[in-house]
Subunit: 300 residues, 2 copies
């Protein structure tokens, strides 16, 4: 399964970077292949200063070895071996009318001393972070999420949509990071689903990424905007940084387990502002976004 | 003691904001007085878009009540009452030749059910984060730190200087946040020092702040700089954000114990950049700074 999934995310990385380059029209992803001294490595692809994408990364990695102590405590297991592979992407468009997007698809295995696999699961999801809210975009994104889910189980969408709203939440700001999407974790084989069923579900979600995001990016990338709107985007990107550095488990794991820092932190936006106690004008487009982030809604 | 110290930091806040406004020459601190629903409150003073200071805050607070659960676990105590007061400041100058400075002076008391004080201590320090290294500035800053310490004990400076280098360390980047200063905590009464001796020490350090920082700010605030140097400052400010959001105990406490978020996060710089895998040219001034941050030196 781990070879099958790694092969899938290698293809998916190619497909996604090609699709994004085509929309950008100028910049190309730069590839960094890296090795992890304890076992495994990855292939990071980063794009900066494109026509459309100000900064973005689409990274894959496959790491293995002894489970680091901090992760033993987290997973409540002893000194076991593990293998983990996944694809992570974050795209920060230049135009404040175009939303930031994040997606992640991952697979984890643990082994006992004899090398026997004792646990295996999938996790991941995708979510959208707009700076200006176009309902049409939010509906399109969630519709694609729902379609990918519905092929596999009628309850997946509402379950994983709710998990996404709960997870990507800046508790210290009492607001969501964005307008959500899907979030799932610990998808194991059980009475209903085999591990192959889990694979089929996660790869359906992966396959839907470009169709979920590119139409939105295409609609918004050339809209006119003011410097005030650009400032608002940069202030909101500050909230993105706050979530990723304070709350995001994946980022903190990466930082605390000696991950490849530049690949872990590729998610941070290129230009960011923090102003003291900044609030948008009442009834403005900016205020409308905040009210949605404070009370996540159903988009379908 | 808590009244004596709060009265001291109220005066110190006045003195420091007055001194900084005089150097800035344009902007004035804006005051926000706030209350904490569980007991206490504070007086935040923030300055933005000055001639010299791009963003800065000098905040005092005095909070009390039941010790929040997360802090009970941290201090390894049960359900006790507490009182905490302190002054925190962070100044981000506009000119990349002028360093960012941080200082904090705080006092903590805990009480049993009968209201008897069962523990009390001081903590705090000050540290400098340059974007370009002027040895003259680092030496001046550390000399002022040492002078404030030497009046009280000959070992304080070297002890608290080392603690500062250890604490303000971005472990995930393997580099110090800046060139250090002083850091001390849990300064209790003991066989050698009474709690009044501790107060006298902390107030000496507080009194030395303006003399430690203003001469540096005055020397650097009007130096010419290029847009590349400004970009470098904004990239380095990204490391400041990483430290404060990932590692700084005070910030995380504030975020996780429902502190006043805008006062806690006033430390974040106004304009920040993250670029992928950015490294300065070899032997450049920027590379020289990094090499010092990777191997903290003795400045005296």
């Amino acid at each position: 399964m781990k070879n099958q999934f790694y092969s899938y995310i290698k293809d998916l990385q190619n497909q996604i970077t090609k699709g994004l380059e085509k929309v950008d029209g100028k910049a190309q992803f730069k590839e960094d292949v890296w090795k992890r001294s304890e076992g495994g490595g990855g292939r990071s692809r980063i794009l900066e200063n494109g026509f459309v994408i100000e900064k973005g990364g689409v990274n894959i990695s496959q790491v293995h070895g002894s489970l680091p102590e901090s992760m033993q405590a987290y997973f409540k297991v002893g000194d076991v071996a593990f293998s983990a592979c996944g694809l992570s992407l974050v795209i920060h468009p230049k135009n404040p009318m175009a939303p930031t997007v994040h997606a992640n698809y991952r697979y984890f295995e643990m082994y006992d001393k004899s090398g026997k696999c004792i646990d295996q699961w999938f996790g991941g999801g995708l979510d959208l972070t707009p700076y200006y809210l176009f309902e049409e975009d939010a509906k399109h994104f969630h519709k694609q999420c729902k379609q990918a889910c519905d092929e596999h189980h009628t309850e997946f969408y509402s379950d994983f949509k709710d998990k996404c709203d709960s997870y990507f939440y800046n508790a210290h700001r009492d607001e969501a990071r964005g307008i959500g999407g899907l979030f799932f974790d610990y998808l194991r084989a059980d009475k209903v689903f085999s591990i192959s069923d889990r694979y089929n579900f996660v790869s359906s979600v992966g396959d839907s990424f470009l169709e979920a995001y590119l139409p939105i990016l295409n609609r918004r990338k050339d809209l006119p905007y003011t410097s005030d709107q650009r400032n608002w985007q940069e202030i909101r990107r500050g909230r993105y940084v706050e979530f990723n550095l304070v709350h995001d488990k994946g980022t903190l794991f990466g930082l605390k387990t000696n991950g490849r820092i530049e690949s872990v932190l590729m998610s941070l936006p290129p230009n960011v502002q923090w102003r003291y106690d900044y609030h948008p004008e009442k009834e403005s487009e900016e205020a409308k976004l905040i009210s949605i982030l404070k009370n996540p809604v159903s988009w379908i």
